[in-house]
């Protein structure tokens, strides 16, 4: 019996949004009489923190304080068309739409403020809930006040609309020549494992990950994705499949007693780092993050096991059973 250690790496890239494009997102932002902004999106809050990240983008674009922005989601009656919340597309696609809508509002606010202050719009700046004359930040109007005046004095609706789509790419059927990607995010994963040669059990000792996300709109949310994605990747690497005897239908998992997810104690140690390389196509440079963080874990672990035992197991998940068989075949 022995415990063999190994290290594996994986380098990955991940395209943001739907390949080949053609997937529009739209939003309407409506200011309220109390100076708050409602961002209406048909995207869906799944736990990823969309309401928070999109509010940050909207606040930035409008120049409002983030506390004054509320994202309302998931309703086809109140929100215009959105293709959906998948393909790591929401921050990028809907984010871009929100930037446009927010900028429309920003312009309205500046125009109204210029009337209130009787200065030229070019001389005004707006940010973080305040409007001020360039160079005189101490003398400011609150955005709240400007919104109120727009609605009750200047008879101006404070509404912004935004649409974003990556135009659908044509494909040359003979070569695949096309423009499928909006932007690429990147990652590199290092996994350290220990393999028990008697049972075939793989223990992941440590995961190191670095992800380049364009711009982290909210680093806290990105971190949440990194850790959660890591565990999902770990499950895929080591135990998870509905058809353990694929392609046969037999032995199909039907419950959490057969399709066993990692539990709290099964999470390995993880050290991670987020780096930024803003993309021109993304809102404030952001790329999609949510999916990429699950992608490189399994190959890094499988490569680490390859390093440890000298055999590359090619079919996921690399259950203890497969590891043991590989070890025995090698002998």
């Amino acid at each position: 019996m022995a415990r063999l250690r190994g290290r594996g790496i994986a380098a990955i890239c991940y395209p943001t949004g739907m390949n080949l494009g053609g997937d529009p997102s739209q939003t309407v932002i409506v200011a309220q009489p109390d100076g708050k902004f409602i961002v209406n999106v048909a995207s869906v809050e799944l736990g990823q923190g969309l309401r928070t990240a999109l509010a940050q983008i909207a606040a930035e674009a409008i120049g409002a304080s983030v506390e004054d922005v509320e994202v309302r989601f998931g309703d086809t009656q109140t929100a215009p068309h959105d293709t959906g919340t998948f393909a790591s597309r929401t921050t990028h696609r809907m984010g871009n739409a929100i930037v446009k809508a927010g900028q429309e509002i920003r312009q309205i606010l500046i125009d109204v403020a210029s009337k209130i202050l009787e200065v030229s719009p070019q001389d005004l700046e707006i940010g973080n809930g305040k409007v001020w004359v360039k160079g005189v930040p101490d003398k400011f109007l609150t955005v709240k006040h400007v919104v109120n005046q727009a609605q009750f004095v200047y008879n101006t609706p404070v509404v912004g609309k935004g649409h974003y789509v990556k135009p659908k790419s044509d494909v040359d059927p003979d070569t695949g020549e096309s423009d499928p990607h909006s932007t690429m995010a990147h990652g590199c994963i290092v996994a350290d494992v220990e393999v028990d040669t008697e049972t075939g059990i793989v223990t992941v000792l440590q995961i190191y990950t670095v992800y380049e996300v364009g711009r982290a709109i909210n680093p806290k949310l990105v971190e949440g994705q990194i850790i959660g994605g890591m565990l999902m990747g770990l499950g895929a690497a080591l135990t998870e499949t509905v058809y353990p005897r694929y392609p046969q239908l037999t032995h199909q998992a039907t419950s959490f007693r057969e399709y066993v997810l990692p539990t709290a104690g099964d999470a390995p140690k993880i050290v991670y780092k987020i780096v930024e390389s803003p993309t021109e196509t993304g809102p404030y440079g952001a790329k999609g993050v949510g999916e990429m963080v699950a992608n490189g874990i399994a190959p890094a672990i499988v490569n680490a096991v390859y390093d440890a035992i000298g055999v590359q197991i090619t079919e996921l998940p690399i259950t203890p059973e497969k590891v043991l068989k590989a070890l025995r075949e090698k002998q």
């Binding site: 380098a11 395209p15 940050q56 293709t83 932007t183 239908l249 079919e315």
Partner: protein, 452 residues
């Protein structure tokens, strides 16, 4: 993190958290209406078969059973989930008319006053099915003598490249998506080493803790409100409108907070069935899937098989790559053609490979339909590519880091599909990762950059 911004870059707390820790976040399962009914499905016990008879007479007599919905109740019984963005062909019935194509496919729906009654009555529906041999193995499915399980005569998606498959004629035997660049034959002739690999991922379940739940409520004037655990409300709206033959604007879809999706709630999988039931009985109807249904009926990540062959030079460069990718769509199209494209165009990974020949096949089998899951298409090829990279490096005797650094794509190069690369940043990311993991990279790698 970013000084030039006020809100962007701030590590603000997820605004949903307060609702989560106080238990006040609203999910679909908490939505209820007076007089609401429940659905349970009668499901196929076999992977493939002809429906000979559906006898609902015993089930209908169970007190509390309101109606049993079959294919006849569906106004337009054919659809494809992503028709709105040009993915076809429409090949999936809301309820099958004469043939079941996967084990567990819903044959008819019992609508009853509560869940227990619906379950009890569903057990009393008698279905007679003539079992047919199922197609389960992708390689077998592609053989000319395989039993045909699609309407168009081969067990693969055979329409033209791109996603507008429904409008173009098929060409059997041709891969659905093809990527060719450079001169792959010459690359292999010039290679010092050729490394082959074959990689398989069987279906994986999303397993969000919240199962699929949908409530459909008819409204005055032929309208309908649908509360559902979807990641894509407009997909639901479009598909329900299609199968009910009513204007999309008559339908309102609401997705309250969803308890995890991971791609498993992108496809409208059951909303159409709930909508038909609600419209037929004229009352609010609810369906919550059991955990067993989550595993055996809901979509999975597609199984894939990738065969890959690399032409390598002895100094550690990838001169060319051939790959053949099979994607297991399951019984119906759903989003699979899209997934195959996403896989096939990414078969180079983050590397510069000047000469490539990639074939992507969308294969149909008698399995629950597969669809998107976190990293759809790319999770799968990232796995194949990174295992192949390791195999390449070890065969050549080149260090794993060095091999990746040398082949990493740079800004200014072009991708396999001819797109100029302007977002490359892998070299920098790898340097950071090596440093994080305590790896001392040699100076010649540290000098590299994504810009040259």
């Amino acid at each position: 993190m970013s000084g030039q911004f006020a809100a962007v870059g701030a590590p603000i707390k997820n605004v949903q958290l307060l609702g989560h820790v106080t238990g006040t976040t609203q999910y679909v399962d908490e939505i209820s209406f007076p007089g609401m009914l429940w659905i349970k499905a009668v499901r196929s016990p076999v992977a493939r078969g002809k429906i000979r008879k559906i006898d609902t007479s015993r089930a209908e007599k169970v007190p509390g059973v309101i109606k049993i919905i079959t294919a006849k109740d569906v106004p337009n019984n054919i659809h494809v989930n992503m028709a709105g963005i040009g993915i076809g062909p429409p090949d999936e019935p809301v309820l099958p008319e004469d043939e079941v194509k996967y084990k567990g496919e819903a044959i008819c729906l019992v609508v009853a006053r509560d869940e227990e009654t619906a379950l009890k009555a569903a057990q009393l529906v008698e279905v007679e099915i003539e079992e047919l041999p199922p197609v389960l193995d992708m390689e077998e499915a592609l053989k000319p003598d395989a039993p045909v399980i699609t309407k168009w005569g081969v067990n693969a998606f055979i329409y033209g490249s791109g996603m507008d498959g429904a409008t173009k004629p098929g060409r059997p035997g041709r891969p659905f998506f093809l990527v060719r660049r450079g001169d792959v034959e010459t690359a292999f002739k010039q290679a010092d080493k050729v490394v082959k690999g074959s990689y398989v991922i069987p279906p994986i379940e999303h397993a969000p803790i919240e199962p699929h739940v949908c409530v459909a409520k008819p409204e005055p004037g032929g309208k309908l409100t649908i509360y559902t655990t979807t990641q894509a409300p407009y997909f639901v709206r479009d598909n329900v409108a299609t199968i009910l033959n009513i204007p999309a604007s008559n339908i309102r879809v609401i997705a309250p907070a969803v308890g995890g999706g991971f791609g498993g709630k992108v496809d409208p999988e059951f909303e159409m069935q709930v909508a038909v039931a609600a419209m037929r009985v004229g009352r609010p109807v609810k369906w919550r899937w059991t955990r067993e249904e989550e595993f055996t009926i809901s979509t999975t990540r597609p199984a894939i098989k990738v065969e890959m062959e690399d032409a390598l030079s002895k100094d550690g460069l990838i001169l060319g790559r051939r790959a053949r990718l099979l994607h297991d769509s399951g019984a119906y199209t759903r989003t699979s053609p899209y997934g195959v494209i996403k896989s096939t165009v990414n078969l180079s990974g983050p590397y510069h490979i000047p000469n490539v020949y990639y074939e992507g096949y969308c294969v149909y089998t008698n399995r629950q339909p597969s669809s998107a899951m976190r990293g759809y298409g790319v999770f799968e090829v990232s796995y194949a590519v990174e295992l192949q990279m390791e195999r390449d490096a070890r065969t050549l005797g080149v260090d794993s880091w060095e091999f990746r650094f040398k082949n990493a794509y740079r800004n200014g190069q072009v991708t396999a599909t001819g797109r100029p690369i302007d977002d490359a940043y892998l070299v920098e990311v790898m340097k950071e990762a090596a440093s994080l993991a305590g790896v001392k990279l040699p100076p010649h790698l540290l000098q590299m950059s994504s810009w040259g």
